[in-house]
C-alpha cells in the first residue's frame, strides 16, 4: 500500500489497466464508509458524557473509568485473555505440526482430504459446530462429572487450528527445499536441520498464524455462547448479554478497546507478512 515501487510495473499502451476503471474509487469509498462509519460512531460515542449512545452532549472519559472498574468486565476480560492465550499456543503448535506433515512430504492419496479435515471448522457453519460441541460436551460432563474451563479452551483450540495453519502452510510452500537439503548434505541430523534451518525460516508464518488464532479466539461469540460454563463469560458474551437491557456507552468503551487490540494485532500480522517478501 505504502510502497510506490509496486505501481511501476504498469504497462503503457493498448491494454486496459484494470486498476483504473471509471467508478472504482467511488465504489471503494462507498464500501469503506459502509464498513467503518458504524465503528467510527461507536468509538465517538464511547467518549460521550451522558448515558445515551445516540445523542452527543460532551466529551468525557467517564465510561472508560466505569468500564475499567466494572468487576463483570474485568472478569470477562481475564477469561477472554486466558482462553485466547492458551488456545493460541495449543492451536499454533498443532497447526505447525500439521503444516509440516502436509508440505514436507511427497504427495500421497488422501493428502487433500487430510488438509480438508484440518480446515473443516472453516467449512462447517459455526452454529452447527456450536450445537454439536454443546451436546458432545454435555455428554462427557455427565459421564465424567468433570467440569471447568478446559472444555472452552478445547473448543477454541479446535476452531483456531485452521486459522493458524493457513499462514504457516503458505510460508512452508514458499520456502525452497534447497536450504534444508544443503544442511542435510553437510551432515546435519534431521532435528538439527529443523531447529536451525526450517523453524527460523517459518517463524514469520508461525507468528502470523498465532496472532490470527488469538484474534479469532478473542472475537468468537457463537461457539463460546454454547460451550462456556459457569464463571466463563468472555468479553464478547458479556457485551451480548447487555444488549437486551439497553446499551450504554460503557459497552462502547469496552468495544473501542477491543477494536484497538484487534487493529494492533492485524497490523502486526500485516507487518510480519510484508517483511518476508523482501
Amino acid at each position: 500500500m505504502a510502497n510506490p515501487a509496486a505501481t511501476t510495473t504498469r504497462k503503457p499502451g493498448k491494454s486496459i489497466d484494470l486498476k483504473y476503471q471509471p467508478g472504482f474509487s467511488q465504489i471503494a469509498w462507498f464500501c469503506i464508509v459502509v464498513l467503518y462509519a458504524p465503528i467510527a460512531v461507536l468509538v465517538i460515542f464511547s467518549f460521550n458524557e451522558n448515558r445515551s449512545v445516540t445523542v452527543w452532549t460532551q466529551f468525557s472519559l467517564d465510561w472508560y473509568i466505569k468500564a475499567w472498574n466494572n468487576e463483570g468486565i474485568q472478569h470477562a476480560a481475564l477469561v477472554s485473555l486466558e482462553v485466547a492465550l492458551v488456545a493460541m499456543i495449543l492451536s499454533t503448535i498443532m497447526a505447525t505440526m500439521a503444516a509440516l506433515v502436509t508440505t514436507r512430504t511427497d504427495s500421497y492419496r488422501g493428502l487433500n482430504s487430510a488438509i480438508a479435515v484440518i480446515n473443516q471448522p472453516l467449512m462447517v457453519p459455526e452454529i452447527v459446530t456450536a450445537v454439536a460441541t454443546l451436546i458432545f460436551f454435555a455428554i462427557i460432563k455427565q459421564l465424567t462429572g468433570v467440569s471447568g474451563i478446559g472444555y472452552l479452551i478445547a473448543a477454541h483450540t479446535a476452531f483456531c487450528i485452521p486459522f493458524a495453519y493457513m499462514p504457516i502452510r503458505a510460508r512452508l510452500e514458499d520456502m525452497n527445499l534447497s536450504l534444508e537439503q544443503a544442511a542435510a548434505d553437510l551432515y546435519a541430523p534431521p532435528f538439527k536441520v529443523f531447529r536451525r534451518v526450517t523453524l527460523p525460516l517459518m517463524m514469520p508464518g508461525i507468528a502470523a498464524g498465532a496472532m490470527l488464532a488469538f484474534i479469532v479466539s478473542l472475537d468468537d461469540v457463537i461457539i463460546t455462547l454454547f460451550v462456556a460454563g459457569p464463571g466463563e463469560t468472555t468479553l464478547p458474551l458479556y457485551i451480548l448479554g447487555q444488549i437486551r437491557r439497553g446499551v450504554t456507552p460503557e459497552i462502547n468503551a469496552v468495544s473501542t478497546v477491543f477494536v484497538g487490540i484487534s487493529v494492533i494485532l492485524v497490523t502486526l500480522i500485516f507487518l510480519f507478512g510484508k517483511d518476508r517478501k523482501k
Partner: protein
C-alpha cells in the same frame, strides 16, 4: 496415523486443562445480562460464605438451549413467565418448594397463584413489568390510555410511531384493540386483525427493539416499550408519558428457579430464600429498575423508582395480563400474519 496424533494431543489438552472440580460453598447463577446487583450478591456471599459466579444471557431461548442438554453446571436461572411453563413441561426445574421457605411470607399474594407455577412450588418472583407504549405529551395532547394511538393514530402521530419487533407484543396489542381473545385460532378474527395491522403499519415509522435510542434521538414520538426502557427514555426526554391502555396490556415476570441436577442444590435454596427478603428484592430493583413483587421492599427502593409512573401502576389501570404460550397451531397462524406484516 498422523491425524491420530493430532486427536491424541487434543485429548491430552482437554484432560490437562479440565482439572477443576466444583468445591463446596459455590453457587452458579445464570441470569439475564446486566440484571444482577453485585452489591446484593456480595451480601449473600458474606452471609453464607458462598462463592457466587454470575453469567449473563440475552434471551430466554439462549438460556434454554444451553441448559436443556444438562450438565451446564448452573444452579440458578431466571426465566420469564412463559419460559418457566416451558421448562416445567420439559422437566428441567427442581421442585424446591419455596412456598415452604421461611421468607415466603414476603411474597405478594397476587404473585403466588400464577399460571406458570401455580402455588409457587418451583419459582419465586424476581422482577416484573409491563409492555405498553410511551408518547411525547407535547406532540400529542389527548388521552394516552388507549391502543387507538397505535392502530388508528391522530394526524400528529402518523409516521412518528415505533413498534417493538416482537410478534407477540404486536399481535396481542392488536387483538386487545379489536377486543378478541388471546391465543386466538379463529380464522375470521385473525383475518380482520391482519387487515387492521396492515392498515396501521402505513402510519408506523419503524419496527425496532432500540426503543430508548429511537425516542431520545427524536426519530419517533411514540414507541411501544417495556416500562423500564420507557422510564430511562423519559430521563432524556421528560415530555414522555407512559400509557396504560384501557383495552388491557401484557405483563411479564422473571422468576428465580433452580435447575434439575444443580450441583449446589442447598446453596441454591439458600439463595432463593434470601431473594425473598425485602432487602435483597430492593437491591435488585434499584439495580435493574423494575418492580419486584416482594412486600416491604418499597421503603428501601430508590425514590425515583417508587415515584415513577412506569414502575408503580396507577390504581385506575387495568391489571396486567400474563399471556401463556399459545398452541403450535396458533403460533403458526401468528407467524403468517407477522411475516406478512414484515414484508
Amino acid at each position: 496415523m498422523k491425524s491420530k496424533i493430532v486427536t491424541m494431543i487434543m485429548a491430552m489438552g482437554l484432560t490437562f486443562t479440565a482439572g477443576s472440580v466444583s468445591a463446596a460453598g459455590e453457587l452458579h447463577i445464570y441470569n439475564w445480562g446486566n440484571y444482577t446487583n453485585p452489591e446484593m450478591i456480595e451480601k449473600f456471599e458474606k452471609m453464607h460464605g458462598v462463592k457466587v459466579t454470575i453469567d449473563g444471557y440475552d434471551s430466554n431461548e439462549t438460556m434454554l438451549a444451553k441448559v436443556e442438554q444438562g450438565g451446564s453446571g448452573y444452579d440458578i436461572v431466571v426465566p420469564g413467565d412463559y419460559m418457566i411453563a416451558i421448562m416445567l413441561k420439559k422437566d428441567l426445574l427442581e421442585r424446591v418448594e419455596p412456598n415452604k421457605m421461611s421468607n415466603f411470607k414476603n411474597v405478594d399474594k397476587k404473585w403466588v397463584d400464577v399460571y406458570w407455577d401455580e402455588g409457587r412450588n418451583y419459582s419465586i418472583p424476581y422482577q416484573w413489568g409491563t409492555t405498553n407504549f410511551t408518547v411525547d405529551s407535547t406532540v400529542y395532547k389527548g388521552d394516552v390510555n388507549t391502543l387507538a394511538l397505535l392502530f388508528d393514530p391522530p394526524d400528529e402521530l402518523k409516521g412518528r410511531i415505533n413498534m417493538l419487533k416482537d410478534m407477540n407484543d404486536v399481535i396481542n396489542a392488536g387483538l386487545r384493540y379489536l377486543n378478541y381473545p388471546r391465543c386466538n385460532a379463529n380464522k375470521a378474527q385473525l383475518k380482520e386483525l391482519n387487515a387492521m395491522l396492515i392498515k396501521a403499519k402505513a402510519n408506523w415509522r419503524t419496527m425496532d427493539y432500540s426503543v430508548i435510542e429511537k425516542l431520545t434521538s427524536k426519530d419517533v414520538d411514540l414507541s411501544q416499550s417495556w416500562n423500564g426502557a420507557a422510564k430511562r427514555a423519559r430521563k432524556d426526554r421528560p415530555e414522555l408519558v407512559y400509557s396504560y391502555p384501557k383495552e388491557g396490556f401484557t405483563g411479564w415476570m422473571d422468576n428465580v428457579a433452580v435447575l434439575k441436577g444443580a450441583p449446589n442444590l442447598e446453596n441454591a435454596k439458600l439463595f432463593m430464600n434470601f431473594m425473598m427478603t425485602p432487602e435483597a428484592a430492593a437491591l435488585t430493583s434499584n439495580f435493574a429498575n423494575y418492580a419486584n413483587g416482594i412486600v416491604g421492599s418499597e421503603p428501601m427502593m430508590n425514590a425515583d423508582l417508587t415515584s415513577a409512573p412506569e414502575i408503580v401502576m396507577p390504581a385506575s389501570a387495568p391489571a396486567p395480563e400474563f399471556v401463556p404460550p399459545c398452541s403450535q397451531e396458533v403460533t403458526d397462524l401468528y407467524a403468517k400474519i407477522w411475516t406478512n406484516l414484515n414484508k
